[in-house]
Symmetry: C3
Subunit: 415 residues, 3 copies
Amino acid sequence: MIADALADDLFAALCELPIFDSHTHIDPLAPAARSLDDLLGYHYYTELAHSAGMSHESLRADVDPRERCRAILSHVDRFDNTAQYAWLLEIARTYLGFDGDQLAAGDCNALFDSSLRVMAQLDWPAQVIAKTKLEKVFLTNAFDDPLTGFDRDFYVPCLRTDDLVFHLHEPATRERLHRCTGIEVGSWSTLRQAISQLFDRFVRAGARACAISLPPAFAPHVCYFDSPSQLADDLSYGVFWMLAELCNDYQLPFDLMIGVNRRVYPGGVHQGQDLFDQRTSLIQYAELFNAFPKVTFAVSVLSSAQNQELASYAWIFPNVFPHGHWWYSNIPAFIEQDLRARLQAVPKTKLLGYYSDAYKLEFVLPKFNMYRRILAKVLADDFVKPGRLNEVQAVDLGRQVLRGNAERLFCRKST
Amino acid sequence: MIADALADDLFAALCELPIFDSHTHIDPLAPAARSLDDLLGYHYYTELAHSAGMSHESLRADVDPRERCRAILSHVDRFDNTAQYAWLLEIARTYLGFDGDQLAAGDCNALFDSSLRVMAQLDWPAQVIAKTKLEKVFLTNAFDDPLTGFDRDFYVPCLRTDDLVFHLHEPATRERLHRCTGIEVGSWSTLRQAISQLFDRFVRAGARACAISLPPAFAPHVCYFDSPSQLADDLSYGVFWMLAELCNDYQLPFDLMIGVNRRVYPGGVHQGQDLFDQRTSLIQYAELFNAFPKVTFAVSVLSSAQNQELASYAWIFPNVFPHGHWWYSNIPAFIEQDLRARLQAVPKTKLLGYYSDAYKLEFVLPKFNMYRRILAKVLADDFVKPGRLNEVQAVDLGRQVLRGNAERLFCRKST
Amino acid sequence: MIADALADDLFAALCELPIFDSHTHIDPLAPAARSLDDLLGYHYYTELAHSAGMSHESLRADVDPRERCRAILSHVDRFDNTAQYAWLLEIARTYLGFDGDQLAAGDCNALFDSSLRVMAQLDWPAQVIAKTKLEKVFLTNAFDDPLTGFDRDFYVPCLRTDDLVFHLHEPATRERLHRCTGIEVGSWSTLRQAISQLFDRFVRAGARACAISLPPAFAPHVCYFDSPSQLADDLSYGVFWMLAELCNDYQLPFDLMIGVNRRVYPGGVHQGQDLFDQRTSLIQYAELFNAFPKVTFAVSVLSSAQNQELASYAWIFPNVFPHGHWWYSNIPAFIEQDLRARLQAVPKTKLLGYYSDAYKLEFVLPKFNMYRRILAKVLADDFVKPGRLNEVQAVDLGRQVLRGNAERLFCRKST
């Protein structure tokens, strides 16, 4: 019952396109959910239920999964207004045979049983992939991930570097690095050797990006050090700069996910403790963007105010690319404003439209559909209705934003 | 002539609901205007007229009230584009028999005479309350307010604490505190005794909230002190923390109105001198929100950028509730964007939709109508048109946002 | 093919109005383009092409102008989604006889030839002025500009003061000042003498504004100094304050263009190296606004978050006027939100709607048309459809915003 027939048409056309998902947390060895518990365990639902009054008790590991689901579902009527709930409802309808209008505690048994039944199928991940028209899924791999046992053309490895940048002063991290590279890091040069080896291994395994999430106050600068036992802050900047150098050497795009403060609410649920501080600026990255003109920086931000900066920085810096709509900004009211600005101010060849950030394959479809609905609306309102593009051209622009640019940048394919 | 019939319908339905007004500055002993002068004396009109060129002369206390009104009305054609003007026009039409399209200086005598006539009626406040379908009005009471002489079930007391937090270093404030509690404050423990006594008295008088407005740089933290003669800043943090402890003990919601700088324009009209600094973050309150998980923090902010933070903090922290659209952000362009974000990202049980902030009862209706129009439009566009809710469900969601949550949180009523 | 017939009507009516362009960089001795090269050389196209992958090589001064144009046009299909491209297309259609749908490298010869042909006409600037219905164009003049050789009633001089405020510590700037005033600046009093002389000369030449662009961290305050050889920062504040004093004495509006960081991307194209930092606040100007109540501050900002501050500061301070939609914020998605806020919260007599910021006359029309389309939409949606204004009144409001206020403030004409 979408009011606008034109946007409706464009949405349908965009849904025909295979999905290129340039950032996820999917485990290629267990890519799909195994039960409703894997869906409702997604931090969006545990944190919204908790925010709306659910205690930690119901989430404890020793609670029966079905009862854990019932607990969350019994709170769903407190947050069924949210965008996140809408993803869940779409999953229930698409994959679990649900045909009601609203999810509720009373649906728990039917949904749980249905989930066990369909998800037990050997080809369940393949079914979800087919339904989603999913073509490629970027992973988030710890630096010591073995990267084996999965189709690396479909599940593209990505070197996640938060641990290296922010936890290298911890013995445990250095021990992990030692174990996986054989190098005992005691100096700048041994550290570089070790991290180069990681890049080498990842690139040989088909990795197509290096990624990191960064706190609002992070302001990288050229920074050398003699021994990595220095103060954590300086060490962070030194390692970060080294990663940029290696992205340059190995021609890997560098995914910067800017703005998150970790553990702002330590009493929150698992993965539901982080927030942000709007007082941050991309000018903190000017030295970086200038120093590495050949590195593609795929930049995600958390607020619309910083998105305005991002639209301007991407319009000026050849190596800055707006990337998706991340986390707290992945809400229609923000996506619409942020997307309109990007489409009006940034070269279309630089727009990396969307990624799902999903932990389980089932979430890729509803998240992309949310985005595609908004993209269709913006294309209709800002391009087709004013006569700038016809419908075919608008779908072409949508294709480029949704997947063409990502293919070119992450996979060096011309499209 | 509202274009959208669906939004129109929803607006009409929302207007049927009695109004629960969770934050006002109404004086229960003189709740309604006594003449046009009380309406035009609202700082919105004096400051807009002054901003548009009116001198202070016309506002002097010794000016005849009718002439003061004429002066302001003669500037109205300089700001009749504003949302604030629209409230005034609606009041003139609803209460003063005005049937023109635009207010002007030439209407002064008729409006003034009409105001004297209708407002002289003994039951005028009751008439306004009936017309407004007003059910409950929260007050803003100084800590030494006697809280007597009015119906405290309708006019709900609320302990306003700006003086305690920001002016306790002034002898006059301590003298007021002494006078009303009998306690001479000379130490942390006597201060706590005195403030506990205030809470006690307020709660016994039916108070349902503690409230304070805070400057953008305020960043509360646990803070103890020996004598309240310390530096103002430290004292402020100490008193503030104590208030949070007492809100916890007395189970009072704590209204935080975040972001105002006082006396930025000292040459402005009365109450028209304050502004804000966008460089502020809710992360400044993380320690507070963590320390008092059982206190409900009803948070108002002044900018859309901080509203994005608020939507995210309320989605994560169980004790953070977005509250209304305050002051400079109480403008349709901001309300619409802010409200959409809240409705899409925060559990619906936590949305404290709107309060009038009014000084006179007559303003409650046009302010709530402005909000209800926007709420109706957002419900239509984001929920009914995409098929997520039918009209009845949309009105239910509207009811919860408009009054259901406020009833539950402020009055501990389950709704 | 604009969907909304009402907005369409209003747009047509607004297009009938002569344009008052209160801020440009037009050279009155060469106001119009002389070839396509002058159009495509505008930094918006060189920087977007560069951002999308074009090297500096193609822009070198020794490249044949036609080939330089071909290089840029061959990148146009990478940024034909942008608002800036839409201006170019409108120019090609309006002035160069282009009748295609999209510009491309293949159009280079035809466009270039056409541009040479039409722009060689002696009355070409007059033709553009007539087509644009352009009535008045404010210039940006260096302090040592001779201000002669042009019609100063049409091309209104404006004293641009960035060099004085930010480069007076450089011998070259002081030498220029010496040359044009005959005064050797060695002290506060000689500096004041010299700058007073500039104001004198400019005002006698019909100058109607003093203008400056300011970095995000700028926070002016009363500041005196003995010798202008002091530290640059203090010197900047001292000179800036002196300019405000002289604006007061000479009754010149002071254009503040707030928020730009210079040379953030030194590797960028000419004029494509500057960006901004969202962490800035108008509170930094509170002391200034208070100190000079009689100076009209026409304020431009770079972000929507600061626009929210601007709407509030202009609602409170009688001497603060929102001015246009500057540079990175001159994008429809931002203009629409920023304009709605201003129209709803600021007295209409204070809204200085738009300026082109153009370097060549040809750009005035498409830029103003972009703004007028948005203004028409906002007037339709927020004023006519809700029944607040009829169409005639809405056009009147549009006229006041587009030119009435600018005429009154900059030219002291009552309108």
